[in-house]
Symmetry: D2
Subunit: 339 residues, 4 copies
């Protein structure tokens, strides 16, 4: 029997999770809830998703706009086994889910304290088996865990300094800037460091963030102190053994995030997404055996999508083995081509 999944919040992450759920054979989308009758809502209907009004006010708006909905969020919650909440942070739907008696996944905009359980498929799939409420950390945090967990697991990490050059807004937004400025996050560490520790509590990490005028990807520059001496090739080998890390190369003409997203489009995936964290092969440097530097790029719109699918399987205990869930998810999404 396929699991019945609801999506609350049909924006950047929500619509991607919906498509990814629809691409699995062990779960299906019973409906998506949205607050505004904009083009994304119309597209949801066109795609065949049952559309629900996220709140009474939304219901009125949909009616006015002539967009037919299948009911209210309450109705959707009752029909589902699990809801993936992709609403803006602090939307406060937890009581509704509790009342409906369904499990729920939140995204990284929420605090870890909302669920006390933050998920990363490679790092703690088994820990989340059967859990009622789980949070998938943000794109940046997930990106950091993707490459740091393998390093810590295989080589031992004593200290991490990550400087995160963040895209300012998503490609589909035209309101936010800056157009021509760099904005450092003056509070330190940025929230990402503690957020990584919500999954990897023993990791010693300091994060620094700056916002720059680009929409397509975040780029992280990392300095990692290792317990065991290593080489650049050995580090690449570590990452090859873990899922959802892809390699790109300046020597192949992939000089910037522009070429990474071009390569992602060439892969003919849904929405031209790149679920993997892209590491520049020729940007990996080891000095003195134990200090590792590397650059990675994060597609902020999609890297958490496979994690959400795995979290569903873990929480609903569809699959007890994390590795097997990841393989299934990755195959369904076309992940693994670029190595």
């Amino acid at each position: 029997m396929t699991a019945k999944i609801a999506i609350n919040g049909y924006g950047t992450i929500g619509k991607r999770v919906a498509d990814a759920v629809a691409a699995q054979d062990d779960m299906r989308v019973v409906g998506v809830a949205k607050a505004r009758p904009d083009f994304e809502a119309k597209m949801a209907i066109r795609k065949g998703f049952a559309l629900y009004a996220a709140n009474p006010d939304a219901g009125t708006k949909f009616e006015k706009a002539g967009v037919k909905v299948s009911g209210a969020l309450d109705d959707l919650a009752r029909a589902a086994d699990l809801v993936v909440d992709c609403t803006p942070e602090d939307s406060g739907y937890k009581p509704l889910y509790e009342k409906a008696g369904i499990k729920a996944i939140w995204q990284g905009g929420e605090e870890h304290s909302l669920t006390n359980l933050s998920f990363n498929a490679a790092a703690n799939y088994e820990e989340c088996l059967g859990a009622k409420f789980v949070r998938v950390p943000s794109c940046n945090t997930t990106g950091l865990i993707r490459t740091l967990y393998p390093l810590d697991d295989q080589l031992g990490v004593t200290d991490v300094l990550a400087v995160m050059v963040r895209r300012a807004t998503d490609p589909g937004d035209s309101k936010k800037g800056p157009i021509n400025a760099v904005e450092p996050e003056l509070e330190m560490p940025s929230h990402h460091g503690p957020d990584v520790q919500s999954v990897l509590p023993k990791l010693n990490i300091h994060t620094i963030a700056l916002k720059v005028p680009t929409t397509i990807m975040h780029v992280h520059a990392l300095a990692v102190d290792l317990k065991r001496a290593t080489t650049e090739d050995a580090v690449l080998d570590v990452w090859k053994r873990f899922p959802r890390v892809a390699f790109v190369s300046g020597a192949d003409g992939v000089r910037s995030t522009a070429q990474i997203m071009e390569l992602a489009r060439d892969l003919s995936r849904n929405r031209a997404d790149l679920y993997e964290i892209a590491v520049w092969r020729d940007g990996v440097h080891v000095t003195g055996g134990k200090r590792l530097f590397y650059f990675q790029a994060v597609h902020q719109e999609s890297d958490v999508v496979p994690e959400n699918i795995d979290a569903i399987r873990s929480m609903l205990e569809i699959q007890k083995d994390g590795r097997k869930s990841m393989e299934k998810t990755d195959q369904s999404l076309g992940i693994g081509i670029v190595k």
Copy 2:
């Protein structure tokens, strides 16, 4: 028997035409030629296209980079019925095609005088039946013809002023700017006006172009004087009867090119392309009955792709009826959803 198509030049347009040819049942890709062994070349092989070296120098580069090629451009030309030349302007391959005795299509970077026949499926499909050499005009010119030809055909156009706010470079490029400036094209009219006349020789049109710091789409602001008085609804009806014009709406939240490309990604098409010209429904205005203003957005990377497919069918006389070719092309590419 399926037509054997070669692609020379596997960049922005070439790789899209290759995928589009591969999506047809009456033609197939016999090979793609490329000059540099970069990530796009590797992706071509991954996609299953036979890769050829576009010139001897390229052959050496491919060998050095360890990228295996199936031969030289000469070999590819001999194996094909028609070559779609997507190389940079003035690459000068015409003699090679003539020697190989194959038909050829060039893109809009070339002058009309190279072929003396410029193609637009809706406007002059029949004129190009059986032609040896044909040119598909540039993205901007094709975009102008897409909406102007229907207007002229149905309502009569006496005068057009088109101001074209052009994207400065494609999303996959990171070298070109400007980052923070607007650059008018001081020569006037810009080359687009005469280029439109290469397909619609009687159209009275003046074009003005400016380059702005964006990568995703061109936007045209048009002022059109009509022979017959009309209304906004009547104009929309005209465009609905012609292919490859899509409507978007500010009222639906599509305020800028950011949301148009977001909508394109939501369509789950290959590379998130938008082959249609997008017209803002609520940006169409008629004053005094005979003066029409409208805005349209052009996805510079892909709008000429369906025209190339139709040009192939016309030149090889696979289909004598332009309407039928367009329908077939559009169905294969998923065009027609957004109306």
Copy 3:
């Protein structure tokens, strides 16, 4: 006796008008009012301007931030002959000015109906002599009047189509976008056309606006139908006879707004401003004798500054002759170098 001028609103326009007033010998700044104790407020004090709290709430904020103010806006108003209101639109200070019995100038964010008198030094200086309330239209409107009024005056204008490629926000702002999109103003005509008519009521003009990701200047592409046949040189001669139009040239390497602002910085003016409207000399084209095309660039932060100074002189009848006021203003600001 020098006129006592208050500035209410010390942002982009206000701080420039304050500096410009301070540069005159027939008027002086009695104080500037501001709502927030940010770095601009501190800079005002550093410059020696008496700082006032624009409202009671602002007074509290200034006190908390330890920024000493000279009093409230009421106090400032009583000390002044005229206030230049550079507050955001609809700030609603008119009753306060009326109560204080002082004259006032507003900026282009306000509607013409607030004053029923909109000002442009070349066009209607004499009309505003002694007026109580006057409005200086926005940067774009002022830019259009600067070049259109001379054309109409000397050659007769029958019809204008202006397409305005607008900067999205000012250089000092880092919140607003778009970062990578073009946004057309779907309502038509844009408000600029009617706004030009608030000064030049008989001018037949249609304006179209688009917002693009740049911060430094607006660029206008204009198509003007003239009554009398002319030539490109004759048009340049017309503009040379009127103030505040400067010429730049693509042949000199001024290809875009980047080089115009570079040139403005090279002029060593205050804040690197360009008060003139910059017209590309080699972008002026006349077709058929009576149709004129040209491009102009508008420095949105400063082109209205000299108009404000002249408006003060006109309203306080310091100088009855507009030409003489303009000359005095221009000399004080260094205008007139680039011809």
Copy 4:
């Protein structure tokens, strides 16, 4: 007697050094040499600088463009005591200067090995006294030395990691991108680390660089390990005792480089330059007593200008005391206001 200074290369740096030399009372500009007759050349003449043709080819170009020059670079060299070479890297004028028997300063585009003496006023003024050939390191390197030298001098620095988020091109350029991408410098360390060591040979520093789509400033995120335990206030006190470090504050609304450059414009300096390195006061963080994090912004067009003036005084031994030269330079340029 005032020193006679020639400027070879009148672009971004050259024109600023020319203005700065002209602002001193112990040196004067005897001429500026340029290669192209563009708007900057015309502006040089307008400013009263004698213009020379940088090479024979340039001479021809100037003649064709009708721009009158005072002679060739040879003539200029013979008339000068010292030349400030602001030409593009590897322009190769050293033999010419040697033949003319004049001293020369190069900019950071050149290698340290060209002069074997790299200059920073605070760090090694005395070392360069009387030197024949000196190099002023690049904007980024100078920026790093400005804040690191004081830290090392006062608190002892054991290790530095600097991640440099670089502007992609200068505001006056409209050719270079990226428009929407982040480009890491894959080679590591970036050249800046060794370049800092050309002035501070004992400093242990690793630099990482990324290019982002902005034109106005570089931003550095630094992690510094100190010998002696300190506090945030103590660090700010260290920098206050050294010249050319300015403080800005997010609490004052200076959230990004946009507001820093706005503040610079408010200072009414020549070209709205900011010669100081701007450090965010509320972005300085000390953890564990000995690890310091901070952000600084570098105005790439102007921070080396005062260093060039001091280098002239040191090389020509106009002033033996570096502190006194710096004070004189700073006073002439208006430096020191923002503390």
